[in-house]
């Protein structure tokens, strides 16, 4: 429990200084020290995508990253997607498309989908399904999730 390091993480546009052991994952640092509980732990081995965050714009599993290794990177969690307390277009699309059931996987889904549209503003349903293949959901059957990403793409394209 000793040998903690002082690090600064750039999270959702703000510099956050925290003291963590080198073994601390980014997921635990977000949920613990930074009190950002929107990023979820569901498998803890990088399979399910519930902990997906953006690192310099790329979706990554926070459970597989060490906090000390992502200093100086631009980290965006689900809480940082919207602006001024409003939901982002992607978040609102998930609400409006009825994609959300229990919601536990949705932070990761929404973050991954956000990265997809940044890279490919008008994806096909097949491309959306491929992009979300690392995000497991046990409630939705994925149909409405794909609908939501398409809805967001339409709204952003207008």
């Amino acid at each position: 429990m000793s040998n903690k390091l002082d690090i600064t993480l750039q999270v959702n546009g703000e510099a956050q200084t925290l003291r963590v052991p080198p073994s601390r994952t980014l997921l635990d640092a977000l949920r613990g020290e930074l009190a950002l509980a929107g990023t979820k732990n569901a498998c803890n081995q990088g399979v399910c995508g519930a902990c997906t965050v953006l690192i310099d714009g790329l979706p990554m599993n926070a459970c597989l990253l060490l906090a000390v290794n992502v200093t100086g990177r631009d980290i965006i969690s689900v809480e940082g997607l919207g602006e001024g307390g409003e939901l982002s277009v992607m978040q609102q699309a998930f609400v409006d498309a009825g994609a959300i059931q229990c919601g536990y996987c949705m932070s990761g889904m929404i973050v991954t989908a956000t990265a997809l549209l940044a890279d490919n503003p008008a994806p096909t349903r097949e491309e959306i399904r491929a992009a979300l293949s690392g995000n497991l959901c046990r409630c939705s059957g994925y149909v409405r999730v794909v609908d939501a990403v398409q809805l967001a793409a339409e709204r952003l394209g207008q």
């Binding site: 509980a37 979820k40 059931q101 229990c102 536990y104 046990r138 939705s140 059957g141 999730v145």
Partner: protein, 770 residues
């Protein structure tokens, strides 16, 4: 009334969708309290062993450790929904690998986990029975030597070793009915243990208040089952236990009974601080519960014209180390043994057997997925044998309204034929599909029956000072959308918008009893109580309105938006608002306006129709509803892999309160059933689960699930429900495995009898066929 009921039949965004999308929703594992400690479990390394001694000194000596509990700290008795055979922590013996034996509370999770490994427990290993065959063999080790003394809510077999339950149902002449058959098909089907894989692992948080009461927040499907488990397992009076459900990240049956709550209460009591437990995924998979694996021998007899005349089913369910819901699950599997067909002669025999594995329990479908996989697959085989289209065969034998189900209950409505015709039309059933090179392709069909009324519930509706309504129910929304649907029904009774209804979080301190979010029952069963409670508020509103508008109640009408007006001719403009009535009630006349509703289904069995023995009472199980599914699937002849291309699912929901939520239940249920059919299987070797992770236990992802799952919502109103509602939570899962099995049959001519239909199994079958 339609204008007043504008809140139902629509699909507004879920009440809590915004907070979930924003990452703000609080699940149990997200909750933090001042001074909160973190818990870790020590679990059994043995499938069966006697506990000789505990040594907790080293764990307690670790800096940061605040409390250690073992079986010696148990202050209550055994608990369990059907058989009281389980303790808060292992006591005297361990009965499966992964059974919690001790627990630690420490300042952080890492310390707690380290300390748990420092607890030394001396065991005397015992012979284990890790399969049904081993558990029923002569001289098999007994899991529960005291079984005869346990409290049970059914007639258990005596001196039956590890067989905890044996039930039998006979209709007509039973197996003698096969004499009337021209064609008989018999087969033995095997079904796997399916893991719930709710995305949120089990979590619980307990905190004692200065007055000695404990509040427990947990990931649960039932705050009142949680309270009952704590009461029985720890001997704490119910009045001192407050249970609350925060947002719950899926359950599917796995969180209906106790899961971690007793341990955090024991630790919190001992440490004098709040304690939170969050299981890791492998702990959740090794210590909680799953769907019963089993073997089903099934036999069907038919006349050459396709009339089904006899059915026999004999099933054996592996129930694991503790009964949990197993006898009930086995009973419900028998309940569906006849399928949705008016077969005159039936014998159904079931067993649930203790084995040294984790407990098997409730899982979406509750025995029906196993029974329907075998039953419906055999219907396809007999259709093949008779040369009759499998949809025609089902329609010919479909049970009709007014006929009796297994057990003798009369079916109020049946949309089975309508559902079969709907999926036949929607899928363009007779149109041949082109398979890709190297593949075979076919369409498969299944019929589905399921119930949607179950056990008791209550609701309280209260008019608030501004004319809005607050609804207190104990039903937990585990993702299916019941908070929204119940609020819609409440709003519709009063002609309000859904925004005028506050849905109070489930809390045993404020809501009347409700059994659980289970059995496809919430929209139907809790909805009935919500209607009754809200109607009582409406009646009081009208009484006040009559006094204020100086006219008889009969002259009044509810108007949308929370108003009461006069409907006499010529029209009077006078109106009062709910807010005005609320203020009158609070400050002047009558006191606050509150309504309550209570409901317990009771649909008696008919012993003249079905002879039954060894069953739990099924009188609180009723409201049968029907559906049908067609699946288009392709089998790769080189790899054996099955691809589900498209699915059509027609389900009768009586009346869709929230059509969007109904469709979501169908999508999600179908894909969960597809996982059951194709890839999901917990595998044990000598009692050790060898695939306790999402890496090694696969369920469908976005690439496996078909993008086209077409839904047909049928609305044949349920006469016993004020809005005509029937449930839809489970039926979409139930139909998937037999429909996929049927599609594989159509594609390959193989009638496979074991799920999951892994590529290896399919390939072996293809090779041995050719």
């Amino acid at each position: 009334m339609s204008e007043l009921e504008s809140a139902i039949g629509k699909s507004p965004p879920r009440l809590e969708a915004g907070e979930k999308a924003g990452g703000k929703a609080l699940f149990t594992g997200d909750m933090v309290m001042p001074g909160m400690l973190h818990a870790a479990l020590l679990t059994s390394p043995y499938a069966h062993a006697r506990i000789l001694s505990y040594d907790t000194a080293a764990a307690l000596a670790l800096p940061g450790v605040k409390a250690v509990v073992t079986g010696e700290d148990i202050t209550g008795g055994p608990f369990g929904p059907v058989v009281k055979d389980e303790q808060a922590l292992a006591l005297g013996k361990v009965r499966y690998i992964g059974e919690p034996v001790a627990a630690v509370a420490a300042v952080d999770e890492a310390t707690a986990r380290l300390a748990a490994r420092l607890i030394e427990i001396e065991y005397e290993e015992l012979p284990a029975a890790t399969t049904v065959a081993a558990a029923i063999a002569d001289g098999a080790p007994l899991l529960h030597e005291e079984f005869a003394d346990y409290v049970k809510v059914y007639q258990a077999p005596e001196n039956a070793g590890n067989i905890m339950a044996r039930a039998e149902a006979v209709i007509g002449r039973g197996v003698d009915g096969f004499e009337e058959a021209d064609v008989v098909v018999e087969g033995t089907y095997e079904v796997p243990a399916q893991y719930h894989a709710y995305m949120e692992p089990v979590a619980a948080l307990a905190a004692f208040a200065p007055d000695g009461r404990v509040t427990v927040w947990s990931s649960t499907q039932s705050i009142f089952r949680t309270q009952a488990n704590l009461h029985e397992g720890l001997g704490i009076p119910m009045g001192k236990i407050r249970c609350i459900a925060p947002r719950v990240g899926g359950g599917f049956g796995g969180k209906a009974e106790a899961s971690g709550q007793l341990v955090v209460v024991m630790l919190s009591r001992k440490a004098g601080a709040p304690v939170r437990l969050v299981l890791s995924r492998d702990e959740d998979m090794t210590t909680m519960r799953a769907r019963h694996p089993g073997t089903l021998r099934i036999k069907t007899g038919a006349k050459s014209d396709g009339t089904l005349v006899a059915r026999e089913m004999e099933l054996w369910f592996d129930a694991g180390a503790f009964a949990d819901d197993s006898p009930a699950v086995m009973n419900l599997a028998l309940f569906y043994a006849r399928g949705p067909y008016a077969i005159p002669h039936v014998r159904a025999l079931g067993h649930a057997v203790y084995t040294n594995k984790l407990r098997l329990g409730a899982f979406r479908g509750f025995g029906n997925p196993q029974a329907s996989y075998a039953s419906e697959s055999q219907i396809n085989e007999i259709a093949d044998k008779l040369g009759i289209d499998p949809i025609d065969l089902r329609i010919k034998n479909a049970i009709q309204a007014g006929e009796q189900w297994l057990g003798g209950q009369r079916i109020a409505t049946s949309a089975l034929v309508e559902a079969l015709e709907a999926v036949r039309d929607a899928s363009d059933w007779s149109r041949p599909r082109q398979a890709r090179p190297g593949c075979k392709r076919g369409l498969g069909i299944s019929a589905v029956a399921h119930t949607s009324a179950f056990l008791s519930t209550g609701a309280i509706a209260r008019l608030q000072g501004d004319g809005s309504v607050i609804l207190n129910v104990a039903a937990v929304d585990i993702g299916q959308g019941s908070d929204t649907a119940l609020s819609q029904m409440c709003a519709a009774v009063l002609g309000l918008d859904i925004e005028q209804v506050t849905f109070a979080p489930p809390d045993t301190d404020s809501a009347p009893y409700d059994y659980a979010t289970a059995a496809s029952r919430v929209t139907h069963t809790v909805g009935r109580a919500v209607h009754e409670a809200t109607a009582a508020v409406r009646d009081q509103l009208l009484e006040h309105g009559a006094a204020m508008l100086e006219c008889p109640v009969e002259d009044l009408e509810l108007r949308p938006g929370g108003r009461i007006g006069v409907n006499t001719q010529p029209p009077r403009n006078a109106e009062v608002t709910f807010a005005e009535i609320a203020l009158r009630s609070i400050w002047a006349v009558g006191g606050p306006i509150t309504g309550s509703g209570s409901f317990m289904p009771n649909d008696p069995m008919d012993p003249n129709h079905t002879q039954m023995s060894g069953f739990l009472s099924l009188e609180a199980v009723s409201v049968l509803t029907f559906g049908a599914q067609v699946v288009d699937a392709e089998v790769d002849e080189t790899t054996g892999a099955i691809r589900v291309i498209e699915a059509w699912c027609a389900h009768d929901v009586g009346r869709a309160i929230n059509p969007g939520a109904v469709e979501s239940q169908i999508h999600g249920g179908f894909v969960q059933g597809m996982g059951y059919a194709l890839c999901e299987e917990m595998v044990w070797e000598d009692g050790r689960l060898v695939n306790p992770s999402f890496m090694d236990y696969k369920f469908p992802g976005s690439m496996e699930a078909p993008d086209k799952i077409h839904t047909v919502i049928l609305e044949t109103p349920e006469p016993s429900h004020p809005f005509g509602v029937k449930g839809v939570g489970e039926p979409p899962l139930v139909g998937a495995a037999p429909a996929i099995n049927s599609a594989v049959s159509a594609a390959t001519g193989l009638h496979l009898k074991q799920i999951p239909l892994t590529p290896e199994r399919v390939l072996r079958a293809l090779v041995s066929k050719s």
